[in-house]
Every structure is written in C-alpha cells, then in structure tokens.
C-alpha cells in the first residue's frame, strides 16, 4: 500500500545523510527500548514457562528442575479436552458478540457522530480505566436474581429463570469487558475511509447493503482483523469472568490453569497447559489470518 509507494520514490533513504550504516544504527537505537521490553517481558517469561513445563512439582509445590514429558502426557488426564473446547467456543462467541456490538458502534462514531465524536470516544474509554474486576462485579450486581432479572422472570413466568451461572452471563461479561478493544481498531479504520467512495458506489447503482458489503467492509477489514485478534486472545485465557458470573460452572482453560498454579501449586503441570494454550491460539489465529487474506492481494490495489 503506502509502504510500496514510499519504496518507489526512495523517500526514507534520502532523508538520512551519510548513507547506510548510520541510518541502521539510528534505527537500532530507536528500536532498542521496545526490544528490551519485549525481551524481558515477553520472550523471557515465555521461555521460563516452557522450561517449567518440562519440570516436576516440588514436594511442597513449586518447581524442581527435571526433564520429563509427563506434564504434556497428562494435560488431558483430569479435566479432559473440554476446557480447551469450551474456551474456543466462548472466545469465538465472545469475538462475534463484540463484532456485532462494536461494528455498528464504531461505524456510527466514525461517520455519523460529527462533532460529538470525541465525547463518544471518551464515554467508551472511561469505564476501561476502572479495574476489570470491579467491572465484572458490576455485572454480578446487575444480573442479581433479586433485581432486574426478577422482572424478566415475571415476564416469562418462569420462577427458575436466572442468568448468573449460565454461559450467557459469561458471554455478556466477556463482550462487555473487551468491547473497547474491538471498537478502537474498527473506529480508526472506518474514520480514515474515503467517504467519496460510498457516494461513487451509490452513483453506480449499489443499494445500501451492497455498498456496505463491497466497499465499507473490505476497507474496515484490517481494523476488523486487528480487533478480533485483540479480543480473541485474552478471551481464551479468561478465568475471572467464568468464575464470578458463571459461578464456575463454565470451566475454561484459565480455570484449569488457576487450579494448577494456585490450588495444587503444581507449576509444571500448569505450564504445560499454558504452552498448549499458546499453541492452540497460534494455530487458530494463523488460520484466521490466512482465511481472511485469501483473496486479498488482488482486491487491495483496486480499492486504494
């Protein structure tokens, strides 16, 4: 896209006097802080988790260095594959939920809000500053069987109706908790959209839905992909929301990890599950990206 255009005009090279090595040094220095950050806070912890997954539990819990594949062999022994499957389902459903709520919201703020754009963004961001746990407990109160839900109960005539403790409560919590992460990338992409393309599309005879499908959606696609990934990955590891809103009845990978690390103090077993979770997420996200970008290359140049 624009990067291709830059290379053709040779713009970056021309701004640095003195040729190649100095510009490379400058680039390296600029990237250094972020690299150090990622090295110590991402690569190193992941390496530790990987090493731990091959160890075994100390006599009072914790980790003793050995080399054993037992942890991987036993990953499914107690809880089976269910937590992984449940997590995939809940994360996928949560992502779709965020999309259904977030896309119209982002579209509205980007195109229709006009001068109140800033206000809406602020309203979206402010709750995000409040602790995640408190926001989850807020839903615990909202869905309290003795408050609002009681009214729905009367409406449906079903005395046993309850949302807390069901996967629906967990889904609500997930969508609410991660909505801003979906809205912001979508908003940024939609905000940059060239409005004249929509007019052109209408001039060429496309209806509103066709315009949305063939013009807006492809333009929003990068934001959509970013938003989906930003939302899907944390949801896979969630355990607080299922524990509080789901009463622990929806058992996800996060809950299994919590048990291993904090109740059994069996760090190697928990690490093995964590590594497996990372692999599952890598596979899923890679597949997702491939699926989305299948026919992309040809379409990209025509839109921009």
């Amino acid at each position: 896209m624009t990067a291709a255009a830059d290379v053709q005009t040779g713009a970056p090279e021309a701004t640095y006097r003195g040729g190649g090595w100095r510009s490379r040094l400058l680039t390296a220095l600029l990237v250094l802080p972020a690299s150090i950050w990622y090295l110590f806070l991402l690569v190193l912890p992941l390496a530790i988790v990987l090493v731990f997954s091959f160890g075994s539990r100390g006599p009072r819990g914790g980790f003793t260095p050995t080399f054993s594949l037992d942890n991987y062999a036993n990953v499914f022994r107690a809880v089976g594959v269910d937590p992984f499957i449940n997590s995939l389902w809940m994360a996928a459903a949560g992502t779709v939920g965020c999309l259904l709520v977030g896309l119209p919201l982002a579209y509205y703020i980007a195109t229709r809000a006009g001068s109140r754009k800033g206000l809406f963004i602020l309203l979206l961001v402010i709750p995000f500053w409040v602790s995640f746990l408190i926001r989850t407990y807020a839903w615990f109160l909202i869905l309290d069987p003795q408050l609002a839900v009681a009214a729905v109960r009367d409406l449906l005539g079903n005395p046993e109706f309850n949302l807390l403790g069901t996967p629906w409560a967990v889904l609500t919590g997930l969508v609410y908790g991660y909505l801003p992460l979906m809205v912001f990338p979508l908003y940024v992409t939609l905000e940059r959209m060239d409005r004249t393309l929509l007019e052109a599309s209408k001039d060429l005879g496309a209806g509103r839905w066709a315009t949305f499908r063939q013009v807006t959606l492809p333009i929003a696609l990068p934001g959509l992909v970013t938003g989906s990934i930003l939302v899907f990955i944390p949801m896979m590891g969630e355990f607080v929301i299922p524990q509080i809103l789901g009463y622990g009845r929806t058992f996800l990978v996060g809950n299994a990890l919590y048990l291993d690390f904090l109740e059994f103090r069996n760090w190697p077993a928990g690490s093995a599950k964590a590594v497996l979770l990372i692999i599952v997420m890598l596979v899923t996200v890679t597949f997702y990206l491939w699926f989305i970008n299948r026919g992309r290359r040809t379409r990209e140049t025509s839109v921009l």
Binding site: R60, V79, P145, Y247, G248, R249, F264, R265
Partner: protein
C-alpha cells in the same frame, strides 16, 4: 492527483487527526489526575498511617523478663481476624507504635509469598496443616515456651497435635469445624449426617447446594461418609470418594468460599458445606435466623488456625509479647466474641458470653469433639488433585 487531493481535503472533517490527538491528550491528563487521587493501594491499615501514635508510657506493666519490646510488630494474617481493641490494648501496654497487619487471602498465598522470598514479618497466622511444610522449609522459628506462660491455659486437645507433635512452632489461635449449614425454614427434613446431606443434595434440593471452594474441606465429606479417615490416601478409597463427588457434581449449585452466606440468605441455596464463621451474622438477622449448623454424625475435620513466629522475625521480643498477650483470658475472650470462632483457651472459654458457649456450632460439645479429625496437607496427592479438578469442571452439569 492534485484535483483528487483537493476533493479529499474538502471532504475531510475538521476534527480529524488533530482533534483526535488533542482528545487523547485530554484523556491522558484526566487519567493522570485520577491516578493522583487514586485508591489506597495497600489493604493493610498500617499502624503508623491509620492510628495516632500511642502514648509511650506502657504504664509500667510487666514486660517479659528482661527483654525489651521493640516499637514495631509486623503481622501477616487473614482479613479481620484480630479484634481491633486488642491491638490497641497491646500497643498501649507494650509501647508498640507500629502494628502492621498485612493480609493474605488463603494459605497458598502465604506460602507462595514466603517461598518467593518475602521477609520482614514477625508473626503469621497459617492454618495448622501448613505449619509442617513451612517448618520443613525453614520459614519458622522454634518457640521458647517459657516466654509464653499463658500457654498453660490451652486445652490439651490442642497441644502436641499431629501437625506439631512437640509444640515447637504453634500457638493455637482458634478452631472450628467444617460441617453442614442449612436454612431450617426451607429444609424441613432432618439433616444430621453426611449421608442425609448427600441424599438431599442429589434428590430434592438438586441445584441448591453450595460447597466451599476448598479441596481440603470437601474431601472429608465422602471419605467420612464411607467410614474412612479423612487423611486416607489409599487409591481405592480415594476412587470411591471421587465417584461420590462426581455423582454429585451436576447437582451442586456452585463452589464458593466467599459469598456462600449471601446465597443462603437470598435462598439461591438452601444447603451448604461450609464453615461456621458466617453463622453469627446469619442468626443475628431475623430474616435468616433459622439457619442451622451441624457437625455430621460420621465426623468431620476440625481446622486450627495458629500463630507462628517467622524465622527471620525482625522484632522477636514484640512477637513473644504478643503471643503471650493474646492468650490472657480476658484478651482471648474479646477475640472469641469478636471473631465468632471457638477458642482453645480454657480459661478464656469460661469467661465467654454463655449464649455463645451454648451455641454448638461454635463450641461443639465434648462427644462431638471426639469425632473430629485434624486434616494434614494433601495438596500434593495427585489423585486428589485430579478428582478435584474433574469435580470442579463438572459443577452444575
């Protein structure tokens, strides 16, 4: 391209990039402001911050022998587990200005902190079964009992326990049982044994039973029901117990250690496998005054919370003063009435409010005490861990 550019510039809204950036700046500013006035990050009511420094005159009260009590004592405890007036009395009598009270949520957190290298604490309050492990790892100091003469008041049942056969590390704090709590108004059937609890949970009150979220407290239920010791780790016996738990899993409402009394109060649950602490409040409220707590006839575990001194305690004299002070009968009586848990101190027990003494939930009668077993730490037993993980994953069906 220039025409295109011109058209684009006309179509572009004025707020665009500049407006967005200034908005973000405003948000960041507001965030910084919020952070300044931020929440009190620490949960500990550190003595120096929250309480005015006490008068240094200890009134000349006799300190232990010739040891000078330091002006600080740092404790690591469960939340709300010491009567505030006792802390005040201690501070004034011994001239301790700073009484630190840090909080942990469960024994695993305490252990994890110590294993992670936390230092600076004098006194901690683990449950007895963790003391063995902590002592083995060298976190605890052996106690010189001659400096704690008030240990003489402790009932012999709680001396030389299975966890500390030579009384080297433990000063007992309080004890309680894990049993069955239920709403008598909503459960007219007799509930006197684990077997009845099992039948009711599986049958009539399916979906209305809450268990505490604690492996060590739930396992005694099937083991005792089958007639085994709750410290039994025989694989065949554990399998039988596991089968019972898995049978019940779909009928359990939830596993909840923190808000099970709330669920009993709003009738989401009618039966509960839990601890005795909340019963005082539940009984006090007229809406839930029908709550009963029983120790099942097959027997159950008793837990013992203990005072221990940490190996690297920076203020050992203050720590010994506290350990002796807390078991003065009058002081211990205030503790008991404030916490709602039974005291192992016989002299204090005689002073406790008779209404509380008569409450069998708090002070079990002698014959029930005979049926109680102390539970050792089984968190490393793989079979138990597997059963518990499977049980948790199948809750609520």
């Amino acid at each position: 391209m220039t025409d295109q550019e011109r058209i684009q510039r006309m179509a572009r809204r004025p707020i665009n990039r500049r407006g967005f950036l200034s908005l973000m700046g405003a948000s960041a500013g507001a965030a910084a402001l919020a952070a300044c006035t931020g929440p009190a990050g620490s949960v500990r009511p550190s003595g120096a911050a929250s309480v005015a420094p006490s008068a240094s005159a200890g009134g000349g009260a006799s300190p232990a022998a010739s040891f000078e009590v330091e002006t600080e004592l740092l404790t690591y405890n469960w939340s709300d587990y010491v009567a505030p007036e006792n802390i005040e009395t201690f501070k004034q009598r011994f001239g301790v200005e700073n009484f630190g009270y840090d909080i942990f949520a469960n024994n695993e957190e305490l252990l994890a902190k110590l294993q992670g290298g936390a230092t600076g604490y004098d006194i901690a309050c683990p449950t007895a079964e963790y003391v063995t492990g902590m002592a083995e790892e060298g976190f605890l100091q052996e106690l010189d009992l001659s400096r704690i003469p008030n240990m003489q008041h402790i009932n012999p049942t709680f001396r030389k326990t299975a966890w500390d056969p030579e009384d080297k590390y433990i000063v007992p704090k309080d004890y309680g049982t894990t049993g069955i709590m239920y709403r008598k108004k909503l459960v007219p059937e007799p509930v006197t044994s684990w077997r009845e609890f099992y039948d009711l949970t599986k049958g009539k009150y399916s979906g209305k039973t809450v268990f505490v979220d604690s492996m060590g407290d739930v396992f005694p239920f099937p083991l005792k029901m089958l007639g085994y010791s709750l410290n039994d780790n025989d694989p065949a016996h554990l399998k039988e117990a596991g089968d019972i738990l898995l049978e019940l899993a779909p009928h359990v409402h939830s596993l909840d250690s923190d808000t099970y009394q709330v669920k009993l109060a709003n009738e989401e649950a009618v039966l509960c496998l839990g601890w005795t602490g909340p019963i005082v409040d539940l009984r006090a409220d007229p809406a839930t005054a029908d709550t009963q707590y029983i120790v099942p006839s097959e027997g159950t575990l008793y837990w013992l919370d203990t005072w221990v001194m940490l190996a690297d305690a920076p203020h050992p004299n203050a720590a010994y003063a506290w350990l002796n002070f807390i078991h003065e009968p009058e002081i211990q009586k205030i503790e008991t009435e404030s916490n709602g848990y039974a005291t192992p101190n016989d002299a204090a027990k005689a002073l406790v409010d008779p209404e509380m003494l008569a409450d069998q939930a708090i002070f079990p009668p002698e014959d029930v005490i005979a049926n109680l077993e102390g539970s050792l730490d089984h968190s490393g037993v793989q079979q138990r861990a597997d059963i518990w993980a499977e049980f948790k994953s199948k809750i609520g069906g």
